[in-house]
Symmetry: C2
Subunit: 307 residues, 2 copies
């Protein structure tokens, strides 16, 4: 298993649909996952930041994960988020993901305490790896300091990688700082450490420097064109393709990202229930929604085959 093929390409941190009563909606979730895989996503980073994962309990997420697999979504395409504040929660989710045969897990550091030491973060990740104790585990570190406020430093990556080669498989860098992504590539990519940009804005640069793709919010609505650039990054047309997908992202990120993605799926899939966010997030107001949908339509954006 140590040499099993790893995911490369475009992954969506899949947004999670909720009912009017704020319950996770497994049916809509599985349908969206299948649309994503059909439309260009190489994998599904379910339970990421854009999934409102931390707004759900471990039990709710395990039920969704099992429902996905039962609905026929291949576990080899799944990279669920399994990092929690509580060590015990991270162990439980990671163990379940490995048991189900997921390609990997994307793990936030524990994020309640701020200013924690690399030693403490090392112990957190190491405890999960040791307690799960399964050679099939592929752990991708999730660096997203603007939200978690707890960074994953280059020194921490180096220490984990030298202790757990093959298990520590890569990173999603959502710092928004290309120099940081570049440093991760320069220092670790040759050791089989797979670097995913946290936004398609950096996809071309990431590929040109030895990266493996991107795990990006807008992968939820624009997977085809992003995947096209992933496949064609060496082509003369690559810069034009990069500019086009960046332009789409810029429209979306004028609004709060998660409700904007949900509003787009609701509109283009003709399914208004998709708009619901679980507190503390709130749906777009009507002006925000009109602006988003209007600009997307004007740009020629579409979601072929949705709904």
């Amino acid at each position: 298993m140590a040499n099993k093929e790893r995911i490369a390409g475009v992954l969506a941190p899949v947004v999670t649909p909720f009912t009017k009563e704020y319950a996770p909606d497994a049916g809509r979730f599985a349908r969206h996952c299948k649309w994503l895989l059909k439309s260009g996503c190489a994998g599904l980073a379910v339970f990421g930041t854009n999934s409102e994962a931390n707004s759900m309990s471990v039990a709710e997420k395990l039920a969704l994960l099992e429902a996905l697999v039962a609905a026929g979504v291949p576990p080899a395409k799944l990279m669920p988020g399994t990092g929690h504040c509580a060590l015990s929660d991270s162990i439980e989710m990671t163990r379940a993901a490995v048991r189900l045969g997921c390609a990997g897990v994307l793990m936030l550091p524990p994020f309640y305490y701020k200013g924690v030491s690399d030693e403490g973060l090392y112990r957190s990740f190491a405890e999960v790896i040791e307690r799960v104790g399964d050679e099939r585990l592929r752990l991708y570190l999730y660096h997203i300091p603007p939200v978690s406020q707890v960074p994953i430093t280059l020194a921490l990556i180096g220490r984990l990688l030298s202790k757990y080669p093959g298990i520590v498989a890569g990173v999603k860098d959502s710092s928004g700082d290309w120099q940081n992504t570049k440093a991760m590539l320069d220092q670790f990519a040759k050791e089989g450490f797979d670097v995913f940009a946290g936004s398609e804005v950096f996809l071309l640069e990431n590929m040109r420097n030895g990266g493996k793709g991107c795990i990006t919010a807008t992968g939820n609505i624009n997977p085809g064109p992003i995947d096209q650039l992933f496949r064609n990054w060496r082509s003369p047309d690559a810069d034009r393709q990069q500019a086009a997908i960046t332009a789409t992202r810029k429209i979306v990120q004028k609004q709060p990202m998660i409700p904007a993605l949900k509003a787009a799926i609701a509109h283009f899939g003709n399914d208004p229930q998709w708009k619901t966010c679980r507190p503390p997030l709130v749906e777009l107001d009507s002006a925000q929604e009109e602006s988003l949908i209007g600009e997307l339509k004007a740009s020629g954006f579409s979601m072929p085959g949705l709904g």
Copy 2:
């Protein structure tokens, strides 16, 4: 039940002991809780920031809470922390606390997403109150922006208090900003909103302005003298007492607070296992520990009856 007596005085956010394997240790926990109640604490804010509460799963916390009650700790003295990132976790813990007869719950806002709106936070608290649906609930809001990064604004308090009077019972203000505590007192104390300072450093000021006490880290090791000031705040000796407890706190907070509290309990209770912190926190190094214990001893500090 609407007029049941509320807790006032000194509460400790009780530190949580772990075994060498990082498992919560219910026996040591109950013993420490009993020592605190015997030594000056009016109540126990178990599962607070200083309790490493967010490093534990809901199941682990429920087991500890049930063990405490089974060990004879009166639920009327308990104000467990029940706020989580996940709405469903907050509902589950709050429901359990009410069912067990706890005096109240101390609730963090959901803290993963940053920059969330007051509307989203209002929905979070309101959903918990509505789903628990029990008139016995007494909800204390937990404002600790240095750690949670998500504040509880005066506007949010006002909105919750007018919708849920009697249920929304007060606040712990751990902003460290006395002007904010003062504003909470000025705007809401007369409506039966109980303001607890988040540190004994502000205890005297809080009492002089209509507050109800403090919920403070160092309540774990210095409950007697802090309680004495709470009882004697109108006395001519109050300023001297305030200076003395502030001096003790200043010694402790030269070190990282949580491992320092644990090191003090380990030393003065002659029980080294208390030093263990769950990752991502780490215990003090030997130099930090020597410095802490040396300074505490030199100041005349003691923990009578411990161990």
